[in-house]
C-alpha cells in the first residue's frame, strides 16, 4: 500500500491479536498484488498490456470496474480510472516543466472511460489506454480488512496510510481518537476527530506540484480537460460510513477545485478542508 498500515484492536488476547494482524496484512498484500499498477503480474498489467484485445476478468475485478463505471457517470467524467495516461505529459517533480496545450490534447486521446468497452466480465481498452485502481484500491482494502476483523471482534480500527475505518468504539464506549495532519506540519495533528464508527479518508495536494510563471500546478488532474484542477484544497478529509465512500467523496471534492466545500456541504457529509 506504499504507506504504514496499522491495526488497532480493543481488548483481545495476544494470540487473537496476532491472528487478526496477520489476516489484515494478508488481505492488504493480496489486494496490492492483484491491483497495483506497479506489478507486472497483476490483473491491471494484464488489462493494460492487452493492446486492444478483450480481457476476461474475475468477479472481484468486475465489481471494481462496475464501481469505476458508476463513479464515472456520477461525477460527469471527473472520476476516471483511465486518467493515468495524462502522466505521460504531466510529471509533478517540483520543476517548471508544464506541458504545452497540444501535448495535453495529444495524450487526451488515450483518456476517457467512455472509450472503454466494458461488458461484464470482458473489458477491452483501445491500444495506448490504461486503467489504474490507485484511486480506489487503498480504501477498498481498508473496508475489506475491516469486514474480516469485524467477524471476530467488534472493536477495531484499520488505518492504511491515513485512510481508516473503525468498526466500533471500545467496550467502555470510548471513541477512537484520530488526528488529522496539519498540511504545513506533517506528523503533527492539528485536529482530533473522535470516531466511534465509520471511516475517514483524506485526499491531498500537498507535495506534488509544478510551478511556472508563479503559478502552481497541483497534481490533481481533471481528465475532462487534461489540466490540473484549479484551486483545489490542499487537503480534504471526509467522514463516511465506509472508507471507500469517504475516499471517493474526498477525491471528487479535490476534482471540484474551488467548489470542493460546496460539493461536500451539498453531500451532507462531515468534512475538513485545508487550503
Amino acid at each position: 500500500m506504499a504507506s504504514p498500515c496499522e491495526v488497532h484492536l480493543g481488548p483481545v488476547d495476544e494470540r487473537t491479536a496476532a491472528d487478526l494482524v496477520a489476516l489484515v496484512a494478508g488481505e492488504a498484500w493480496r489486494i496490492e498484488a492483484k491491483f497495483s499498477r506497479y506489478r507486472d503480474d497483476g490483473v491491471v498489467a494484464e488489462i493494460n498490456s492487452a493492446a486492444g484485445v478483450p480481457v476476461r476478468v474475475d468477479e472481484e475485478t468486475a465489481r471494481l470496474l462496475d464501481y469505476a463505471a458508476e463513479l464515472f457517470e456520477l461525477s460527469g467524467g471527473k472520476f476516471d480510472i483511465t486518467s493515468g495516461g495524462l502522466r505521460r505529459v504531466w510529471r509533478f517533480d517540483g520543476s517548471d516543466r508544464v506541458p504545452g496545450a497540444d501535448e495535453v490534447r495529444g495524450v487526451l486521446r488515450y483518456v476517457g472511460w467512455s472509450r472503454v468497452r466494458w461488458q461484464r466480465p470482458v473489458i477491452t481498452l483501445e491500444p495506448g489506454m490504461e486503467v489504474d485502481f490507485g484511486g480506489i484500491g487503498k480504501e477498498y482494502a481498508v473496508d475489506r480488512a475491516a469486514a474480516l476483523v469485524a467477524a471476530v471482534t467488534p472493536w477495531c480500527l484499520i488505518n492504511f496510510g491515513g485512510d481508516l475505518r473503525a468498526s466500533g468504539p471500545d467496550p467502555a464506549g470510548r471513541p477512537w481518537h484520530v488526528g488529522i495532519e496539519a498540511v504545513d506540519r506533517p506528523d503533527a495533528a492539528n485536529r482530533i476527530v473522535r470516531l466511534s464508527r465509520g471511516a475517514l479518508a483524506t485526499s491531498g495536494d500537498t507535495r506534488r506540484f509544478l510551478v511556472k510563471d508563479g503559478r502552481r500546478y497541483g497534481h490533481i488532474l481533471d481528465p475532462t480537460t487534461g489540466w490540473p484542477v484549479r484551486d483545489p484544497p490542499r487537503s480534504v478529509t471526509v467522514a463516511a460510513d465506509t472508507c471507500t465512500q469517504a475516499g471517493m467523496l474526498a477525491t471528487l471534492a479535490m476534482l471540484y477545485g474551488r467548489d470542493a466545500e460546496v460539493f461536500l456541504t451539498a453531500q451532507g457529509v462531515r468534512h475538513w478542508c485545508a487550503r
Partner: protein, 448 residues
Amino acid sequence: MQLKTSTSVAPPGGRELGTALATATCALLGTSAPASAIAQDIGQWRVDAGGLYYSEQHRVSDYSVNVLARTQPFEDRLLSFSLSFDTLSGSSPNGAAPSAAPQAFPRPITLTSTSGGTVATGGGNFTVPAGALPLDNSFKDTRYAGSADWQRPMGRLGLVSFGGSLSTEHDYDHLGVDAHVAHDFNSRNTTLSAGVEWSDDSVTPIGGSPIPFTALSLNAASIGGSRAKHVSDALLGVTQVFTQHTIVQLNYSVSRSDGYLTDPYKVLSVVDPVTGSLTPGSARGIGLYLYEQRPDSRDKKSLFGLLKHDFGGNVLDSSLRLMTDDWGVRSQTLDMHFKWNLKTDNFLEPHVRFYKQTAADFYHTVLFAGAPLPGYATADERLAKFNALTVGLKYGAKTTAGQFAARIDLYHQMAKPSPDALVGSLRGLDLTPDLKAIVGEISYRFGR
C-alpha cells in the same frame, strides 16, 4: 497560456450522488448498508450542564446550577471552564445548645438578598422552644463561582496542568490557584503525580467579626473589615494499573490553613455546671452566649486509597480516606460506587458512604459558668464527634444527542455532644439532634 478550468461546471447537487455512491459501494463491498458513521471534532466545545438541590431537613436548602465547558484546542491540550451559581437559604444552628427552658436570641442582623444587592436589617429577638436546637433562620446567601484549567503534555509521558478559581458571596471571597504534574512509568502502568494548591480567601462577616468570648447581644462590639484566610495544599500520589481490570491509587496530602478560621456567626451557651440551666445574660430575658474562637491555623494530613475494578463492564469504585489534623479531628471515609450497566446505553450506580470523625479538642457543646475560659472553643456540630451515612442511586442514559444523568443521595449525620455537657437538665435533652439531608442532581452532557 490558457488554463481550462472546471469551475464553470456546477457541482452535482444534493444527496442523490451520495445515495448512488452508497449503493454502488455496497455492491462493490458485497455488504448491506453499513451503520452510519459517528465522527466528532475534538476541537469543539463539550458542555455539561447540571442543577443540584441540597436540602437539610428543617434547616438550609441550596439550589445550584453548574456549567462546565471543555475543549481540546490542540492535540493533547485540554482547556476547561466552569461556572456555577448557587443560592442558599434557611436555618442553620447558631451553636447554642438546646435548653430545658425556651430561649430567646437577639437577631443582630438579618441578611436579605434583593435584586439591588444585599440588605442587612437588624433588631428583634427570635425564640426557640424548650428542648429544641437553636437555629438562626436568617441564612440567605448567593454565591457565584468560576474556574479555569489548562492541561498540556510534558514530554512524551508527562502531563502538567494549571488551574485557577474564583468565587464570591456577600461575606466570603475566594481566589485559588493550583498546579499539578503527572508522569507515567513502567510502560504507562504506573503514574506518579504531585500537586500544589493555594488559596487566598477573605471573610467579611456581616456586622464585623465578633470579639471572641464576648457575649452575643444586639450591639456587641466587633472588628470591622475583612479577615484573611490562606490554605496551602500539597499532594503526592501514585496510580498503579495491576491488571487489565484493576487500578489502585494512593495519595498523601498535607494541608495548612492560616488566618481567620473562626465562624463569626457561631456562639456557645454558658450553663450552670450543676443544673445545666442557661446562665442569664446582661439583656433581660436573654441567656449568656459567647462567640466562639478557633486557632488561627490548622494542619491536616490525609491518606487516600482507591481501588477500581472492572467486572466485565460493570465497575466497582471503592475508596478509603484517613485524615488527621492538629485540632484533634481524625476521620475515616469509606466510599463505594458500583456502576452497573443495564444495557449498552444506560446504567444504574448505587452509592454508599460511611463517615466517622472524632471531635476537635476544643469542641464543647456548652461552656460552664464560673469555669475558666478555654483558649479555644466551638460548639459547631461539624467539629463534634459524629458518624454519617450516605446512600444514593444514580441513573445515567445516553440519548441521541448526549448523556443524561440523575442522582439522589440521602445523608444522615449522628453527632455526639461532648461528655462534659451531660449535666443537670441537659441530660434529658437531645443536645445534638441528627441531621438529615437529601441531595438531588440532574446533569446533561451535550454530545456523545
